[in-house]
Amino acid sequence: MWQRFTWYDVRVIGHYLGMLVLFSSVALIVPLVTAIVFCEWIPASHYLLSIGLSLIVGSALRFLRIEPGRLNRQQALVVTGLAWVVLAFMATIPLYLSGHYNTFLDAMFDGVSGITTTGASIISDLDHLSYADSMWRFIMILLGGLGLVVVALSFGLFGKRSGASLYMSEGRSEHVVPNIVQTAQFIAKLSLGFICVATAVLAVMCAFAGMEAPRAFLNGLWLAISSFCTGGFTPMSTSILYYHSFPIEVVLMLLMIIGSVNFVLHSELWKGHLNVYFRDMEIRTMFIWIVVMTLVFAASVSASSDFSNLATMMRRGVFLIVSAFSTTGFQNVTTNQLTTSLTSGAFLVIAALMCVGGGAGSTSGGIKFNRMGLIIKSLVATVKETLAPDSARVVVSYYHLGRRILSPEVVKQAMTVFVLYVVTYAVGALVGIAHGYDATQSIFESVAMASNGGISSGVCSQGMPASLELFYMLEMWAGRLEFLTLIALIVEVVVTLDPRRVVRSRLVRRS
């Protein structure tokens, strides 16, 4: 039986959403300070207004329930699902005020893309965007990459007990330490540590490349955030091609790979458990998948006249592969080159890499390596059962933070999410085709949106149909929440608003 939300549930959900919106007003202080430092007075006024609006909306939502009590699992699912919409909406306000978007929907597209770390953008004249607005774009990536709930939990916003439900509903299930708040804090600290070191390295490289000191620092910071959080936004319109620097590309590749590995495995590495790290099914699946896809990519691209020489293949190809599998979305080729210089085979290999994505519990999107590993293990188990005598009991195990037995529940969960991703990719491709776009590009774009990969083949651009824009936003949102939270949210809302159920419940109450 579907459980219907009561008015009490709505008020509790509203209260917690209000807390998250209030928290976003703190994040908005960063671009405000940036604007003041660089004397960007018009953006400064926009950010002050956005902070004020966040305070009003957040406080109004909190008034729905003064003493909310603890969140139960259903409420936590809805809070998490709606948080990504409400915060994307609030984040869109300063973006729209920047004047770099034709419509509010275009700005909302970039807001959703930033928060979900997709990285696709339809901004106009990015090269003239203020530092404050650029800073806000990367703060969105940082919040979204770590997870809105993880960030809020690390600040102790929800307490320990409510936190567990919220943590699970954001697509995370593994704990570094048993305490959920400490786990969130570990993730936040680890990420900030990597970002700080990477910022210093990249800022020096940018300065050597010829940038002035403030621009070198900001570019270093933004690139570090975007690569570690596998976001994909860049400060300049030509993405990573702008820097024309192989050393910068190498550092970014390292950061993207680190960002796409499960945070729990990072903690094992931190503890010095190298054996646990390299024996893990996820790491091994990742290694095999990337080697196979790199070989296919190289074979395919060698037929291309532009990218067939070894130096070009190594420089452009390897970077694209890392950017695609980590679902970052950086490009060191132009969008035009993707569709004209690459072979269609290589183009589809990039789509396949985005489709699978990175490690579970990382900042990457996509189906995830652990699910692929589990599904392959399940295939092995099925073949073994077919070949084994009737009396035999087949047991298949896998290594993930210790040896585990492959259970039907684990396989069912992995298969469910796998099927949901594949269906979404297919539906998104059909929606693109129905809007008159080329089939290959539609498939590529749909995968890029739902996997939060963000490498665009050119379909996402200013003036794209609003219906397609909305569908892609839904794909980004669904992909980031790994579907189950979103589906649960939709079911809860439909069941709650269904008039037949409302009447029935009133009749039950009267009798």
Partner: protein, 193 residues
């Protein structure tokens, strides 16, 4: 009627004039003498496309590859060193839309740029003539334009924001309302406890 007649006469004159002015044009197959000689073995040269837009280059197919083109646009971003000490990279943005092209040029040519376009700056407008590469073999497949001739068509200028307190009033009002709501919420919660 009168105007139409005059136009027809002008057209006839325009067509007839070249025949009188350069009689050899009617006999182009016959070699002329001196510097004006027509080389009948000359193959058609299609490697020169004049006044291309940056938008065309950003959506270019193989037709534009290795062609000499001329584009005009605003310099945005930074001057990125190319590593050899003699060349650098500039980003040239289209005046009509967001499209850009990477220009590879000598440091002497880049010295002509006085302003690099950004939020509060309009960059120098350059006219660049050079060879467009869809995937440059010298730069590991980057799509670029190797500049041969660089001309400044318009100087850049700074356009800093002026501080206007009136622009901050809506923000200050909303922040004060928001803070007041937070204080009221806090008081209500304390009263309930």
């Amino acid at each position: 009627m009168m105007r139409k007649g005059m136009a027809a006469a002008a057209l006839a004159l325009a067509l007839a004039l070249p025949a009188f002015a350069c009689p050899q044009a009617a006999f182009a197959d016959e070699p002329a003498e001196g510097d004006n000689a027509v080389n009948v073995t000359q193959l058609p040269d299609s490697s020169f496309i004049y006044d291309t837009s940056i938008t065309d280059l950003s959506t270019a197919d193989t037709y534009y590859d290795k062609q000499t083109v001329q584009v005009t646009g605003e310099v945005v971003g930074d001057r990125i060193t190319a590593g050899d000490g003699r060349h650098c990279w500039l980003q040239l943005a289209s005046p009509s839309d967001s499209s850009t092209v990477s220009v590879y040029l000598t440091n002497e040519s880049a010295d002509k740029v006085d302003t690099y376009g950004a939020y509060d700056r309009k960059g120098t407008t350059l006219q660049v003539r050079g060879t467009f590469n869809l995937a440059c073999p010298d730069h590991d497949g980057a799509s670029d334009l190797h500049a041969q001739v660089v001309t400044v068509t318009e100087k850049g200028k700074a356009t800093p924001d002026e501080f206007d307190i009136n622009a901050f009033i809506p923000g200050m009002v909303t922040v004060m309302i928001g803070l007041a709501m937070m204080v009221v919420f806090y008081l209500l919660r304390e009263r309930q406890r």
